[in-house]
Amino acid sequence: METRGLTRRFGELLAVDHLDLSVPQGMVFGLLGRNGAGKTTTIKMLTTLLAPTEGTARIAGFDIGTQPARVRRLVGYVPQLLSADGALTALENLLVFARLYHIPRAQRRTRIDAALVSVGLQDAAHKLVRDFSGGMIRRLEIVQSMLHRPAVLFLDEPTIGLDPVARHGIWEQLRNLIAQEGTTLFLTTHDMEEADELCGQVAIMHRGTVVVHGTPEELKARLGPNANLDDVFVAYSAATEETEEGALRDVQRTRRTARRLG
């Protein structure tokens, strides 16, 4: 996956400013940054939800601007909000996406059953998702986004609002995915422990641009022998007041997710 000068404006606001990123296949890439830094906008452009104002990106060789239909077949997406449909059962949630991704009928049930087993939801398959815990919903969403075996999986703050047990469960699931499928993961997070645990490379975004990137070890080493990723994050992105537009909306969205998680 590669971006070249990827840019998005909202009126006067420059949300993403000439972003150049390159993520090799099978890498877990973490995009870090404060609220309003442009992380979600970047993911929305890469998943073809939002057209770039300038620049482009290629995913597994396909251009997001000129070949969006091909790109959609190759990516999976887990939005920040809990987006499994609460009015449907777990099985139905998976079935809908198996159909929308045109998985052949003969393979649907096998893949869905295997997906439910892989996250321990086989006994809850026929229960309505609105009665699930936050961790169960996230696990379901991750397998939902993986049914069509995407080359790149985008996760927007995958463990936000989850308790530590559920959070570790999700990490375990993501590690299994990488080991079994070789999927490239592109995630955003505010959780530096998560970035340290999962990511082979991280980039810190501030006001629409990447201010630093490298392996977590490299970035920590730059600040000294005892530095952690929190220190790196603060050093590269905390120097300014929170004036970015969109910050309020981000916080509201985060709170809404947390409320739904109870």
Binding site: F10, K44, T47, T48, L49, L50, A60, A69, R72, R73, L74, V75, Y77, P79, Q80, L81, L82, S83, D85, A87, L88, T89, E92, V96, F97, R99, L100, Y101, H102, I103, P104, R111, A114, A115, S118, L128, V143, Q144, S145, M146, L147, H148, R149, P150, A151, A179, Q180, E181, G182, R256
Partner: protein, 286 residues
């Protein structure tokens, strides 16, 4: 969920073919996939209604009241001239059309809600075409309209309305209900894509519903309206939907505009609205 390391990415078995063959297959598959995607979205709605049918019953209260209270009073007063047709017979198809309008016109708010929950984003990231997502939503409104129809038919029969139950007119009623609901649901989606917030949508929804309802032939004949309103009524798809229902729901019903014109207006309007909505749909995520 895996075939083990190195399992192929992507969903389809077609990748084993060379590229030109693949491209040809894909072109052939487009209409089939479009139908499949549309049916999937409708299926979601049916499954939700099966899990929680209470909404269908609460929504039925309004048409029942229109027939039992408004219909009875106006029929008693003989206040509206409907020729040889008893007023309740005239009103029942109009109230069925109105109830589909009311079900469909607030469909946009469900889309804003789904956008806020992130559900819509996942649909938009899938390979399903925008037009199939829009048409699926529109036809889902038709499914709800059919549930309303069952209740209106029951009440109308109880009130002694001279209903026709032959299969052909019933099939025509089903098509008219689905088309009418789809037209107004798509119109509603377009508004949702433009206004983007629930609060603004509620305001606009209220403003639109009343003129659409009153500037139509649903509860009185067009002939008694002032000329300007008559023109408005003739530009209103609800008028044509009501005309079909009045022709096919009643024994010996007659059409004011002719059924071919009625169906053509509804189908044409739906196609235009779906094209516009498919274009605007992705904007709702901004």
């Amino acid at each position: 969920m895996s075939n083990g390391p190195g399992a192929p990415h992507g969903a389809s078995a077609e990748r084993q073919f060379s590229y030109p063959v693949q491209a040809a297959l894909r072109r052939l598959a487009v209409p089939l996939l479009f139908a499949q995607d549309t049916a999937t979205i409708v299926d979601v709605e049916i499954r939700k209604l099966r899990h929680d049918p209470v909404e269908l019953l609460t929504r039925a209260v309004q048409p029942v009241l229109w027939l039992l209270v408004f219909g009875k009073v106006i029929a008693h007063a003989r206040a509206i001239p409907t020729g040889d047709l008893p007023y309740l017979d005239f009103l029942a198809p109009g109230i069925l059309a109105q109830s589909t309008l009311f079900v469909a016109i607030f469909y946009g708010i469900a889309v804003i809600w789904e956008r806020d929950l992130g559900v819509l984003n996942k649909f938009l990231v899938s390979p399903a075409s925008r037009a199939s997502l829009v048409l699926g939503k529109a036809l889902s409104a038709g499914v709800r309209a059919l549930a309303q129809a069952a209740i209106v038919y029951l009440i109308a029969a109880a009130l002694g309305v001279n209903l026709a139950f032959a299969p052909a007119p019933l099939a025509g009623v089903v098509v008219a209900l689905v088309l009418g609901a789809a037209v107004f649901a798509t119109f509603s989606l377009i508004i949702a894509c433009l206004v983007k917030t629930r609060e603004r949508f509620m305001g606009i929804g209220q403003i639109l519903t009343m003129p659409l309802f009153f500037a139509s032939n649903a509860i009185y004949p067009i002939a008694i309206m002032p000329t300007a309103l008559q023109w408005l009524a003739k530009a209103n798809p609800l008028t044509y939907q009501t005309d079909i229902l009045r022709t096919l729901m009643l024994q010996g019903g007659t059409s004011a505009f002719g059924l071919p014109l009625d169906f053509a207006v509804l189908t044409g309007t739906l196609l235009v609205l779906v094209a516009v909505a498919a274009h605007l749909y992705p904007r709702v995520v901004l």
